[in-house]
Point group: D2
Chain length 345, copies 4
């Protein structure tokens, strides 16, 4: 029997066959190490062009590394980062920003994972006061940790506010592809108001590959040294680059993301009439966040792999991936309905 | 025309086909992320057993990361590391140890890349003096950066000295496989006098995979947190683990290393009678370090890829890899002889 | 004309004459540097005895340094500190904890500057999860930043909770003397539930002297090295130690603190019937926090030195010191009444 | 009986009476904390003018802090400092530079504590190579750790070399006063080729006061934040500043230094004909470094306080201070002669 599809995370999926083929193809012949190879040259040029990034594109191993390296380019030792309380950067990286950069994170509670000028502004007190860590960057996530997307207009307004306030913007784009698919926009549109961002490959079909995109050339100074020092310089970098080239080929990245989003949509639509299930955040990517009747959680988790995201409200997270099928969704929906069947209505 | 084999580094080679096949095989089905998967369980258990490591085996992305993470397990903030002046840790990691761990490196010039009790002892002054960073770990490299190997006896004597002196030993094993092949010993023999070590896969046929081996269980406390914080936790870890399982299968790691060593031996033997070429360090692994007549360097580099290792003495480094062939060696030897032909003898 | 007394901070006061005399007396003859002198031996022994501190007492230059050094003794690199959002450690130290220790601060909003088990408990999620910085210490301030005091019972209950939860307690005692005066207890009582704490001299009549008190001997290992590395080892340490001996002589520290508290009490009592002035936090030390009618703030600040503490509610902070006189208070009260006189009632 | 004068260090002396008087005088009345007071304004302006420092003068607590803060102004995270192997920065600060700045120190053996262009140049390899920490600053000490002084011409040549090589110069001036006295030059002359330097007060009669002098205004950006974050912001800063004003008054700093130098000269001259005593470094400040007959060391140390500086050659260090008297020297000389008397000549 095939084991059931995991809805635990998009990184529970394996790699896309095209990515695996690209790895094998990249293994032909010798190539200089540390990125001085044609695969890296090609993939980084492709990315820089797609984003309109004057500072270039740089490969790293994972999303935490991209966040830390990206913020490192922006901050002096006494400068701080404003971010959402629920940001991956704040919650899920074991304090990497504090340890590796040494910076303070100024966190802001948000209703939906998104920062706005109104949420950022109150964190700007104490500027010029030597007793206070000085806010210098705003870190946002697109798609956010709760599956929502900033609209292009929201990004633009935040960008204008930040520029006017002397703040740089870093964007954690571990699932940027899914936002491009949802918004129907170009990668460059997503980066237009941003100074540095990551573009995730791993959750979208890669074996393990993330790119740091430096929009502003003045921030790229030193990025190669910092990447090496932060232990993110791949020896056989062609194998990271080749994954991105595979994803960029015929917009595989977009097709993967669109499919995952579609599967989440199908799942969300399917639970619309299920008692005991209420969508908790708007479904704008490949994640469905639903508040469940408490009695449903444990029985459903016994059969299916997913996480409780917010214990308080019994909010669970169901993630789809590039390889989730309609059958997977339908089987899961049947499981959800079965779990709901035990409820006394 | 096939481009010529690179003798620049063993990481100029691609990946072994068995490793690429293992990646494809590991991509079947869903698996929990961050190492909670059967591939990781299996490969780390295999490694822990092979080394007799009570503290376990942990995958990271590259050698610099293994060195930093390994030393992190040993040091309090005011403790220092004694290492060879030419150690990769000191020279080639862009100051990662100082930045990420915050520790001082107490460097020692060595004749052949190897530390001995006599070389370490003078660095132990100032113990207990609060003005001095306190030596706590000795970091060695096996195979050393200049291609030499510690004998098991040398390792044992250094180990006894360190234990008696309250020092831990970290071993950078980026090319540990080549030393096992040269010494004809088990992995566990190499680790017997050591507290923490790395075991490199990348230079020995992997796409990109290094393992940190914690011999002493008391040092493993916190390793998972430090790995995450140091941005080395692979999301789809099965793809790193699977590379190691491929290398461990039927001792592919040893066959690869033995072959690379043999090719270096063939190269070293082949230059024995070439004028203008003098072996500079003993050939004990997959690297040949030779002092060249100055007039040969540039013409040879025009045709072949290798590095000048020590500018002063015109010492060059020629590295072989798992995929270097006898034909590659013979073609290179012909090239070396041709370059030597220009010399007036 | 004598300039008006500052109510801006207790560190706006000069030094107590007895402290200055002690400095002069300590200057007689030569003494070994870095604390190996009789003044340091005596003062640190006095402090260790007063607190019942098994780990000893160590002098540093300022309160930020005491906080950083103290927490350094408790934390591994991936461990975090739970503290009040308004803690000096979090707000007023320019991110020193993040930069120097590299740790994450997990902040908690509090109604009155005090942490309780109920406020700490929700911050303990994610223990054992390698993605999360691991809570290890709770940092409290006594007197708190808003002038309130933990009762001995509150300290005991928090201590019991922390011990049961595997948490250590650090206490920022920049104004610990004022809490001892308010509670009528011994220094040792204040430290009974605590692992490491600071004892401030500067705000209580010293020129510049803070002590780090290590209650738990197992945490004192390495404190001398960390102090040096954190740039807090005084060369002529006798001059720091002598200040503490002066403060300890005949309990000058307690008399100073009691007097400052009394002056705050006199001020608080005096504004009881003044329109437009409402006490905002309980007056339990040498600070009076009052919500003012907005129209009063600017006129009063024009004449007197004090800070607006919370802009939102027009809450101001009035600090008294060891050298504040009854006349100073009465003059200030007259000023406050004059400012209130402009209000239309 | 008055205890014997210590020749252990110039920081074994107490404080100059004028400094103690200045502390008492500075204690009059209230003053805003953290340096916003007239004493700080005056002393920092005096220092900036004396040095011709466009970036200003900033007070810190000790020499290690000055070194760390000064270098912090110059370095990005991947940049390194070239310094003498025997530099205080490298040997005597418990790894503060590595821990607090996170930078690598590239050390150079020197014959006399002084760096020259020829000694620095070989450390500049690997520039632009992302694997190498990038040399950015040269740190020198004036007076050096072995009592020698750079001539103004040596400083100028090193300065020219550094400017031409894209290197900044930091000067550790813990004993800068003694070099000004020896060279008969102005403070500004000593700083002319330097970007940032410290000016020590503590070893020259202060209770505890060091100044960081930022010559180049472009480096001063952020110095106040870094000072606070590095735990060096004095609460009652007037008491640090007042010490400097006392030292600057009628050039007390110069008179103190000149006197200490004279006493060292007297001591050096006095041992000229003593068997078993040979001057080891030129006597150019307030330290006498002498190689002793091994049999003399222990008997002399039993009676007098001084350090063995280099165990190998039985080189001892005898320091004089502002308060060393001719009688002290003569008594010590008698002691040395007595110790030498035991030698079989």
């Amino acid at each position: 029997m095939t084991p059931r599809k995991s809805f635990g995370s998009d990184n529970h999926a394996g790699a896309h066959p095209a990515v695996l083929e690209a790895l094998a193809a990249a293994s032909q012949g010798d190539a200089t190490a540390y990125g001085d190879d044609p695969w890296t040259a090609r993939a980084s040029a492709q990315l820089a062009e797609a984003f309109g990034a004057d500072g270039g594109a740089f490969f790293v191993f994972n999303g935490t590394a991209a966040n830390v390296l990206g913020l490192s380019l922006m901050l002096r030792p006494y400068e701080a980062v404003i971010c959402a309380e629920g940001a991956h950067l704040n919650v899920d990286e074991c304090g990497a920003a504090e340890r590796i950069i040494g910076c303070k994170l100024l966190t802001v509670p948000t209703p939906d994972g998104k920062l706005t000028p109104d949420l950022v502004a109150p964190r700007l007190g104490g500027r010029g006061d030597e007793h206070r860590a000085q806010p210098r960057a705003v870190a946002i996530t697109q798609v956010t940790e709760v599956g929502t997307c900033y609209s292009l207009d929201e990004l633009r307004r935040l960008g204008e506010f930040c520029r006017a306030s002397g703040l740089l913007i870093y964007l954690d784009g571990a699932r940027l592809a899914n936002s491009a698919a949802f918004l129907g926009c170009q990668l460059g549109d997503l980066a237009a108001s941003v100074d540095v961002l990551s573009f995730g490959g791993t959750k979208n079909g890669a074996v393990g590959a993330e790119a740091l995109i430096v929009m502003n050339a003045s921030l790229a100074d030193g990025v190669r040294f910092q990447r090496k020092q932060q232990m993110q310089l791949a020896s056989k970098m062609r194998f990271v680059a080749a994954q991105f080239s595979a994803l960029l080929e015929d917009q595989l990245w977009l097709r993967n993301a669109r499919h995952a989003n579609d599967m989440a949509r199908r799942l969300a639509d399917g639970v619309g009439d299920v008692p005991g299930v209420r969508l908790h955040y708007p479904v704008e990517s490949n994640g469905v966040f639903a508040a469940l009747d408490p009695a449903m959680v444990e029985p459903l988790q016994r059969e299916w792999n997913f996480y409780v995201w917010e214990a308080a409200g019994h909010v669970v997270r169901w993630m789809t991936a590039f390889n989730t099928t309609e059958n997977d969704i339908d089987a899961f929906l049947a499981g959800i309905r079965a779990a709901a069947g035990v409820l006394t209505t």
